[in-house]
């Protein structure tokens, strides 16, 4: 059983203001208003195509919004995506990286891209904190399991010391033990002050780790709850109710 972090984060690190993304007549995201403060974990729930990944890509500046704003630590992502990305860390659903390099070398490579001047010792501490065994640090990544690759991805995020962390289906494909380890890690990062936005299908993990949960369908944020206000069963019930509703 995980402990949920205390919610004492008035500063909005991640903020969406009427954020909208359309592809022609198809609205992938409609008028999203959302904010995540320091130490908060916001879990975005929804079926495939609900708009979760679109939201994350808009915060990353990989997509241009049709209207509205995405802000990271007060920086308008559309106006200065590079500056906004310096405040962010991102872990995709599938962490691929360079198979020819070792876990440590991948971390070194991506940490340097972000401009971090960590030495080898600090980088190995990041891998340790991410849960990657020391014996695996210098093995080529192409032999890693999905869970091990994800740990390297987390280490890259840890090394960046970013204000916010964006996670896209992070527990997808992980076994329960790995999933639990990941949740523990995310909680510790939140305790360190990171604002975390996590898109997920995993209702259980969302209830266990989240400060707040939002349910999306058809590009709209349909409902939002404080995680502690719902039991697992309640969350599942309201989620299914939202999924069965009409657009």
């Amino acid at each position: 059983m995980s402990d949920s972090p205390s919610v004492t984060a008035p500063e909005k690190v991640l903020e969406a203001r009427q954020l909208t993304k359309s592809y022609g007549e198809v609205a992938a995201l409609r008028n999203l208003d959302l904010h995540v403060g320091r130490g908060e974990i916001y879990c975005l729930l929804g079926a495939n195509g609900a708009g979760k990944t679109t939201t994350i890509n808009l915060f990353l500046g990989f997509l241009q919004p049709t209207s509205g704003q995405a802000l990271v630590s007060g920086i308008d992502v559309q106006a200065d995506p590079t500056a906004a990305r310096h405040k962010l860390a991102y872990i995709p659903e599938t962490v691929t990286l360079y198979g020819e390099l070792s876990g440590f070398e991948n971390l070194e490579y991506f940490a340097r891209l972000s401009g971090q001047g960590h030495g080898p010792t600090e980088l190995r501490e990041c891998l340790d904190r991410a849960g990657l065994a020391r014996s695996a640090h210098d093995r080529p990544l192409k032999g890693f399991s999905k869970g091990m690759r994800q740990k390297v991805g987390v280490a890259i995020a840890i090394a960046k010391r970013a204000d916010a962390l964006l996670l896209d289906e992070p527990t997808s494909g992980l076994d329960p033990k790995a999933s639990n380890e990941f949740s523990e890690l995310i909680l510790s990062l939140a305790r360190d002050g990171a604002a975390i936005l996590m898109a997920t299908h995993d209702l259980f993990r969302a209830r266990e780790t989240g400060t707040r949960v939002g349910i999306m369908r058809g590009g709209l944020l349909r409902a939002e709850y404080a995680a502690q206000d719902l039991s697992h069963a309640d969350l599942e019930r309201v989620y299914l109710e939202q999924m069965q509703g009409s657009d």
Partner: protein, 469 residues
């Protein structure tokens, strides 16, 4: 922001681990060395052959001089010596960089055996059939650079952006806060360094192996311009790879497009250029050449027969004998003049067609970086035909002087002495001056640089709209 040196080091490590670059580079270096040896062997073979011809001619001249000193009739007759016995080889010595690019050198004669007879010997139709031999050239260093280096560049950079995009690495990389342009240009720069620097060094070594006189003015300037041409040509292909990658596509599709570009610029366009030049300005046919020469010779023979009839009419005592040797060779000189006069218009037409073909090639070369670079490299090596044109013109002028040397005493019934043999005209052809090399190279170099600039600019503009998801 990541320092450039770190970025380069990281990319180098990645490239090394991926293994493609090192293997391809080693292969290219081996091919360069083999090509240099081949080019050197071909050049040396031709040089040895002409050296033997020159030596033989000198021996013959010395022997005739000794005979002339003893008053032997065969050696003192200007007609017999000039029109039958002695020829002076007009030799085109290989340019400094000749072993690196054979070009048209093996199609064109590198010497003319100059006699007192006419200059129709200077016509050759071979070059008019192949004004641009890029598609048919020899295995030399220029072949490796123009044909094979782009294939290695394509192998190194067809997935410059698409590879990382397909594997999901691009989103992680860009989320670190590095700009796409910088990320991509660093990868590109490292690939260029890894390929171009070692190949430039290998080129210098290959040139040394091939016997290029790098210490001479012509050799040093020529080699420098060669290296610059190669670097720009490689840069064109890297810029093209960047341009193709600057739109989100699969790596497979990028590879297909780049392979298609190689086919177009290295095979198809040069062949079309050749076709255009020979179609618009076709060479006089060999049949025409042979027919004209035969008719001119027959006309001259008929005139000579008339002259002999007149001679025997004037010298009835010689009716049953041969013409006086001097009179005979005077009639030969007359015949040769008639043949030369008859062939002169064809020679002019031949030169005009060749010049027109060169103009077509010179204009169309800028459609393809392969053709531009080929013309540049063969031009610097003196094997693109232009040097041969200058050589042939010089040889023709020399032929006029050589002919006069014998026809003047022949006309007045004079004889040759040993001293005359010491005064025999000698042919010399000035080599390429470094300043001329630089002047001729400027436009193609500028064209290549412009191609790099245009492709690079277009690629960077496209990158601004690049969608990573």
């Amino acid at each position: 922001m990541i320092s450039l040196s770190h970025a380069i080091r990281d990319e180098l490590r990645l490239l090394r681990r991926q293994g493609v670059a090192l293997g391809a580079l080693l292969g290219l270096i081996l091919l360069l060395v083999a090509a240099a040896l081949n080019g050197a062997a071909l050049t040396a073979q031709r040089a040895d052959a002409t050296a033997r011809i020159v030596a033989d001619a000198q021996l013959l001249a010395s022997a005739l001089a000794e005979q002339a000193a003893r008053g032997a009739p065969t050696a003192t007759s200007p007609g017999m010596v000039g029109y039958s016995l002695l020829s002076q080889p007009a030799v085109l010595t290989p340019a400094a960089l000749a072993p690196l690019a054979i070009g048209q050198a093996d199609l064109l004669p590198d010497f003319y055996a100059v006699t007192a007879r006419g200059s129709h010997q200077f016509m050759t139709a071979a070059v008019l059939d192949n004004p641009l031999r890029l598609a048919l050239g020899s295995f030399d260093v220029s072949f490796v650079l123009i044909w094979l280096v782009p294939l290695v560049i394509i192998a190194l950079s067809f997935d410059l952006i698409s590879g990382d995009r397909e594997r999901g690495i691009l989103t992680i990389a860009l989320s670190q806060g590095v700009r796409l342009r910088r990320f991509v240009l660093t990868k590109l720069a490292v690939r260029m360094l890894v390929l171009v620097l070692p190949l430039c060094l290998a080129l210098l070594i290959a040139a040394g192996i091939a016997g290029v006189p790098l210490a001479s003015g012509e050799g040093a300037v020529g080699m420098l311009l060669w290296l610059l041409g190669f670097v720009l040509y490689a840069a064109v292909w890297f810029a093209l790879a960047l341009f193709i990658n600057a739109v989100p596509r699969s790596s497979d599709r990028n590879a297909t497009l780049l392979a298609g570009a190689w086919l177009l610029f290295v095979v198809v366009l040069p062949s079309l250029t050749n076709l255009a030049a020979t179609t618009v300005f076709p060479a006089p046919s060999r049949v025409t050449l042979t027919t004209e020469l035969r008719e001119a010779t027959e006309a001259a023979d008929r005139a000579a027969a008339v002259a002999r009839a007149v001679y025997f009419f004037d010298h009835p005592d010689m009716q049953d004998g041969d013409m006086d040797q001097t009179a005979y060779y005077q009639s030969v000189a007359e015949s040769e003049q008639q043949i030369g006069a008859a062939m002169a218009p064809l020679l002019v037409a031949f030169d005009a067609q060749a010049a027109a073909q060169r103009r077509v090639v010179a204009a169309m070369q800028y459609l393809s970086p392969g053709t531009t670079t080929y013309q540049l490299l063969t031009g610097l090596a003196g094997s693109d035909g232009r040097r041969h044109v200058a050589f042939r013109q010089e040889a023709q002028r020399f032929q006029g002087g050589w002919s006069e040397f014998f026809s003047e005493p022949l006309a007045v019934g004079g004889t040759l002495t040993a001293e005359d043999y010491r005064q025999l005209p000698r042919f010399s052809f000035a080599g390429s001056r470094p300043s001329r090399l630089l002047g001729e190279a400027l436009l193609p170099l500028f064209a290549l640089a412009a191609m790099v600039g245009l492709l690079g600019f277009a690629a960077l503009r496209r990158l601004k709209e690049y969608s990573v998801v």
